[in-house]
Protein backbone atom coordinates (compact mmCIF):
# COMPACT_ATOMS: atom_id res chain seq x y z
CA UNK A 1 0.00 0.00 0.00
CA UNK A 2 1.27 3.44 -0.92
CA UNK A 3 2.14 5.82 1.90
CA UNK A 4 0.30 9.05 1.12
CA UNK A 5 1.14 10.86 4.37
CA UNK A 6 3.86 13.00 2.76
CA UNK A 7 2.27 13.36 -0.64
CA UNK A 8 0.83 16.65 -1.77
CA UNK A 9 -2.85 16.47 -2.56
CA UNK A 10 -4.34 17.78 -5.76
CA UNK A 11 -7.99 18.25 -6.62
CA UNK A 12 -8.84 18.33 -10.32
CA UNK A 13 -12.25 19.59 -11.40
CA UNK A 14 -13.19 19.24 -15.05
CA UNK A 15 -16.33 18.01 -16.84
CA UNK A 16 -14.34 16.15 -19.52
CA UNK A 17 -13.41 12.65 -18.37
CA UNK A 18 -10.51 12.34 -20.84
CA UNK A 19 -8.94 15.54 -19.57
CA UNK A 20 -9.45 14.48 -15.95
CA UNK A 21 -7.78 11.19 -16.73
CA UNK A 22 -4.77 12.90 -18.38
CA UNK A 23 -4.22 15.18 -15.38
CA UNK A 24 -4.69 12.30 -12.97
CA UNK A 25 -2.06 10.24 -14.73
CA UNK A 26 0.43 13.12 -15.03
CA UNK A 27 0.09 14.25 -11.42
CA UNK A 28 0.14 10.74 -9.96
CA UNK A 29 3.42 10.32 -11.85
CA UNK A 30 4.67 13.45 -10.08
CA UNK A 31 3.93 11.93 -6.70
CA UNK A 32 0.67 13.73 -5.99
CA UNK A 33 -2.28 12.13 -4.32
CA UNK A 34 -5.05 12.91 -6.81
CA UNK A 35 -8.77 13.48 -6.27
CA UNK A 36 -10.96 14.21 -9.29
CA UNK A 37 -14.45 15.65 -9.67
CA UNK A 38 -16.58 16.18 -12.77
CA UNK A 39 -19.29 18.31 -11.20
CA UNK A 40 -19.84 20.80 -8.41
CA UNK A 41 -21.58 18.50 -5.84
CA UNK A 42 -18.68 16.02 -6.10
CA UNK A 43 -16.22 18.90 -5.75
CA UNK A 44 -17.91 20.14 -2.59
CA UNK A 45 -17.90 16.62 -1.17
CA UNK A 46 -14.19 16.30 -2.00
CA UNK A 47 -13.46 19.58 -0.19
CA UNK A 48 -15.07 18.21 2.97
CA UNK A 49 -13.13 14.94 2.79
CA UNK A 50 -9.66 15.80 1.47
CA UNK A 51 -6.96 18.36 2.03
CA UNK A 52 -5.98 20.37 -1.03
CA UNK A 53 -2.46 21.66 -1.75
CA UNK A 54 -3.13 22.20 -5.42
CA UNK A 55 -6.34 22.55 -7.42
CA UNK A 56 -6.74 22.56 -11.18
CA UNK A 57 -10.20 23.74 -12.14
CA UNK A 58 -12.00 24.30 -15.42
CA UNK A 59 -13.51 27.80 -15.53
CA UNK A 60 -16.69 26.15 -16.85
CA UNK A 61 -17.91 23.02 -15.09
CA UNK A 62 -21.67 22.81 -15.57
CA UNK A 63 -22.15 26.36 -16.84
CA UNK A 64 -19.88 29.02 -18.32
CA UNK A 65 -17.87 30.69 -15.57
CA UNK A 66 -19.03 28.56 -12.61
CA UNK A 67 -15.48 27.28 -12.08
CA UNK A 68 -14.43 30.69 -10.73
CA UNK A 69 -16.81 30.36 -7.79
CA UNK A 70 -15.55 26.84 -7.14
CA UNK A 71 -12.00 28.22 -7.14
CA UNK A 72 -12.98 30.87 -4.57
CA UNK A 73 -14.60 28.23 -2.32
CA UNK A 74 -11.49 26.05 -2.46
CA UNK A 75 -9.31 29.09 -1.63
CA UNK A 76 -11.49 29.88 1.38
CA UNK A 77 -11.30 26.27 2.59
CA UNK A 78 -7.56 25.93 1.91
CA UNK A 79 -6.00 29.42 1.94
CA UNK A 80 -2.46 28.14 1.33
CA UNK A 81 -3.40 26.04 -1.68
CA UNK A 82 -2.17 26.85 -5.18
CA UNK A 83 -5.15 27.23 -7.48
CA UNK A 84 -4.91 27.08 -11.26
CA UNK A 85 -7.86 27.67 -13.55
CA UNK A 86 -8.15 26.47 -17.14
CA UNK A 87 -9.91 29.22 -19.08
CA UNK A 88 -10.46 30.00 -22.76
CA UNK A 89 -7.98 32.82 -23.47
CA UNK A 90 -6.46 35.45 -21.20
CA UNK A 91 -8.20 38.78 -21.57
CA UNK A 92 -8.48 41.48 -18.89
CA UNK A 93 -11.79 40.14 -17.56
CA UNK A 94 -10.38 36.62 -17.18
CA UNK A 95 -7.33 37.95 -15.36
CA UNK A 96 -9.58 40.10 -13.15
CA UNK A 97 -11.75 37.06 -12.38
CA UNK A 98 -8.64 35.10 -11.46
CA UNK A 99 -7.43 37.77 -9.03
CA UNK A 100 -10.80 38.37 -7.45
CA UNK A 101 -11.41 34.64 -6.89
CA UNK A 102 -8.04 33.98 -5.23
CA UNK A 103 -6.57 32.09 -8.18
CA UNK A 104 -2.77 31.91 -8.51
CA UNK A 105 -2.49 31.15 -12.20
CA UNK A 106 -4.58 30.72 -15.31
CA UNK A 107 -3.85 28.50 -18.30
CA UNK A 108 -5.50 28.27 -21.67
CA UNK A 109 -8.08 25.48 -21.89
CA UNK A 110 -6.50 24.50 -25.20
CA UNK A 111 -3.06 23.90 -23.64
CA UNK A 112 -2.09 20.26 -23.31
CA UNK A 113 -2.28 18.79 -19.78
CA UNK A 114 1.42 17.98 -20.05
CA UNK A 115 2.34 21.65 -20.66
CA UNK A 116 -0.02 22.84 -17.92
CA UNK A 117 1.34 20.41 -15.32
CA UNK A 118 4.95 21.40 -16.12
CA UNK A 119 4.07 25.08 -15.79
CA UNK A 120 2.10 24.56 -12.57
CA UNK A 121 4.88 22.57 -10.92
CA UNK A 122 7.38 25.28 -11.83
CA UNK A 123 5.09 28.12 -10.78
CA UNK A 124 3.98 26.59 -7.48
CA UNK A 125 7.61 25.83 -6.56
CA UNK A 126 8.54 29.48 -7.27
CA UNK A 127 5.63 30.66 -5.13
CA UNK A 128 6.68 28.46 -2.22
CA UNK A 129 10.30 29.65 -2.50
CA UNK A 130 9.19 33.30 -2.57
CA UNK A 131 6.97 32.79 0.47
CA UNK A 132 9.84 31.11 2.34
CA UNK A 133 12.22 33.93 1.40
CA UNK A 134 9.76 36.56 2.64
CA UNK A 135 9.39 34.73 5.95
CA UNK A 136 13.17 34.43 6.36
CA UNK A 137 13.86 38.08 5.49
CA UNK A 138 11.36 39.21 8.08
CA UNK A 139 12.94 37.01 10.72
CA UNK A 140 16.38 38.55 10.15
Amino acid sequence: MRNTAWQKQVLIVHPDLRILSSYQSLLSGNNFSVVVARDIPTTLLAITQHHCDLAIISSSIAEAGDGWTVAAVIKMAFPRSFIAVLAPGQDVLTLQAAINHGVQEIYDSEDSPDEVVKAILSSSTRNEAAADQTRVSHLQ
Binding site: D91, L95, I99, N100, V103, Q104, H138
Partner: protein, 135 residues
Protein backbone atom coordinates in the same frame (compact mmCIF):
# COMPACT_ATOMS: atom_id res chain seq x y z
CA UNK B 1 -10.78 47.69 20.87
CA UNK B 2 -8.70 48.03 17.71
CA UNK B 3 -9.62 49.45 14.37
CA UNK B 4 -8.68 48.20 10.95
CA UNK B 5 -6.16 50.55 9.33
CA UNK B 6 -6.31 51.22 5.63
CA UNK B 7 -3.80 52.98 3.42
CA UNK B 8 -5.48 54.61 0.44
CA UNK B 9 -3.35 55.85 -2.47
CA UNK B 10 -4.75 57.90 -5.37
CA UNK B 11 -3.59 61.08 -7.06
CA UNK B 12 -7.13 62.30 -7.74
CA UNK B 13 -8.19 64.36 -4.68
CA UNK B 14 -11.91 63.75 -5.31
CA UNK B 15 -11.50 59.96 -5.47
CA UNK B 16 -9.26 60.03 -2.40
CA UNK B 17 -11.74 62.06 -0.38
CA UNK B 18 -14.81 60.08 -1.48
CA UNK B 19 -13.25 56.69 -0.75
CA UNK B 20 -11.89 57.95 2.57
CA UNK B 21 -15.36 59.08 3.64
CA UNK B 22 -16.94 55.80 2.54
CA UNK B 23 -14.35 53.71 4.36
CA UNK B 24 -14.50 55.83 7.52
CA UNK B 25 -18.29 55.61 7.55
CA UNK B 26 -17.85 51.83 7.68
CA UNK B 27 -15.60 52.12 10.74
CA UNK B 28 -12.15 51.98 9.16
CA UNK B 29 -9.23 54.21 10.10
CA UNK B 30 -7.90 55.63 6.83
CA UNK B 31 -4.52 57.12 5.98
CA UNK B 32 -4.28 58.73 2.55
CA UNK B 33 -1.41 59.16 0.11
CA UNK B 34 -1.58 61.27 -3.04
CA UNK B 35 1.30 59.47 -4.74
CA UNK B 36 2.95 56.07 -4.91
CA UNK B 37 6.09 57.49 -3.29
CA UNK B 38 4.10 58.75 -0.29
CA UNK B 39 2.27 55.43 0.00
CA UNK B 40 5.53 53.46 0.01
CA UNK B 41 7.03 55.84 2.58
CA UNK B 42 3.98 55.38 4.82
CA UNK B 43 4.29 51.59 4.54
CA UNK B 44 7.82 51.81 5.86
CA UNK B 45 6.70 53.49 9.06
CA UNK B 46 5.90 51.40 12.13
CA UNK B 47 2.12 51.60 11.67
CA UNK B 48 0.66 48.35 10.45
CA UNK B 49 -1.94 48.49 7.68
CA UNK B 50 -4.58 45.79 7.38
CA UNK B 51 -5.40 46.74 3.79
CA UNK B 52 -3.82 48.86 1.09
CA UNK B 53 -5.95 50.28 -1.70
CA UNK B 54 -4.03 51.82 -4.57
CA UNK B 55 -4.72 53.45 -7.89
CA UNK B 56 -2.52 52.25 -10.75
CA UNK B 57 -1.67 55.44 -12.63
CA UNK B 58 -0.25 58.14 -10.35
CA UNK B 59 3.21 59.70 -10.88
CA UNK B 60 3.48 57.46 -13.90
CA UNK B 61 1.57 54.68 -15.64
CA UNK B 62 1.10 51.49 -13.60
CA UNK B 63 3.19 52.79 -10.68
CA UNK B 64 0.49 51.43 -8.37
CA UNK B 65 2.02 48.03 -9.10
CA UNK B 66 5.12 49.22 -7.22
CA UNK B 67 2.90 50.06 -4.25
CA UNK B 68 1.36 46.59 -4.48
CA UNK B 69 4.79 44.93 -4.69
CA UNK B 70 6.01 46.78 -1.60
CA UNK B 71 2.78 45.94 0.24
CA UNK B 72 3.19 42.26 -0.64
CA UNK B 73 6.53 42.24 1.20
CA UNK B 74 4.99 43.37 4.50
CA UNK B 75 4.44 40.90 7.30
CA UNK B 76 1.71 40.39 8.22
CA UNK B 77 0.74 40.92 4.62
CA UNK B 78 -2.09 43.42 4.19
CA UNK B 79 -4.95 42.78 1.79
CA UNK B 80 -3.99 44.55 -1.43
CA UNK B 81 -6.57 46.21 -3.65
CA UNK B 82 -5.82 47.74 -7.03
CA UNK B 83 -8.30 50.24 -8.39
CA UNK B 84 -7.89 51.44 -11.95
CA UNK B 85 -9.60 53.08 -14.86
CA UNK B 86 -6.93 51.74 -17.20
CA UNK B 87 -6.93 47.97 -16.87
CA UNK B 88 -4.83 46.14 -19.45
CA UNK B 89 -3.72 42.56 -19.95
CA UNK B 90 -0.22 43.62 -18.89
CA UNK B 91 -1.14 45.33 -15.61
CA UNK B 92 -3.76 42.69 -14.74
CA UNK B 93 -1.22 39.92 -15.34
CA UNK B 94 1.30 41.77 -13.16
CA UNK B 95 -1.33 42.11 -10.42
CA UNK B 96 -2.05 38.38 -10.62
CA UNK B 97 1.67 37.67 -10.29
CA UNK B 98 1.87 39.87 -7.17
CA UNK B 99 -1.19 38.00 -5.89
CA UNK B 100 -3.20 41.07 -4.98
CA UNK B 101 -6.51 40.26 -3.35
CA UNK B 102 -8.74 42.43 -5.50
CA UNK B 103 -8.58 44.17 -8.86
CA UNK B 104 -11.36 46.71 -9.36
CA UNK B 105 -12.03 48.83 -12.39
CA UNK B 106 -13.43 52.37 -12.32
CA UNK B 107 -16.17 53.38 -11.99
CA UNK B 108 -15.89 51.56 -8.67
CA UNK B 109 -18.77 49.43 -7.47
CA UNK B 110 -18.62 50.65 -3.85
CA UNK B 111 -20.91 47.90 -2.60
CA UNK B 112 -18.72 45.21 -4.11
CA UNK B 113 -15.57 46.92 -2.83
CA UNK B 114 -16.89 47.17 0.74
CA UNK B 115 -18.19 43.60 0.74
CA UNK B 116 -14.83 42.28 -0.42
CA UNK B 117 -12.91 44.43 2.04
CA UNK B 118 -15.10 43.37 4.96
CA UNK B 119 -14.87 39.70 3.95
CA UNK B 120 -11.09 39.76 3.62
CA UNK B 121 -10.46 41.69 6.82
CA UNK B 122 -13.00 39.71 8.78
CA UNK B 123 -10.80 36.64 8.60
CA UNK B 124 -7.67 38.44 9.71
CA UNK B 125 -6.40 38.22 13.28
CA UNK B 126 -6.10 41.32 15.47
CA UNK B 127 -8.32 43.44 13.28
CA UNK B 128 -11.05 45.50 14.93
CA UNK B 129 -13.78 43.68 13.04
CA UNK B 130 -13.11 40.57 15.07
CA UNK B 131 -13.81 42.53 18.19
CA UNK B 132 -17.16 43.65 16.91
CA UNK B 133 -16.18 47.12 15.81
CA UNK B 134 -17.39 46.66 12.28
CA UNK B 135 -20.60 44.82 11.68
Amino acid sequence: MGKAYILLADDEPNVLLTLKLVLESDGYEVVTADSAATAIALMNQPRRFDAILTDLNMEKEDIGLDVAREAAKLLPRPAIFIITGFASIENARAALKIQVEHFATKPIDLNDLMLTLNRLLHGRPSVGIQEGLIT
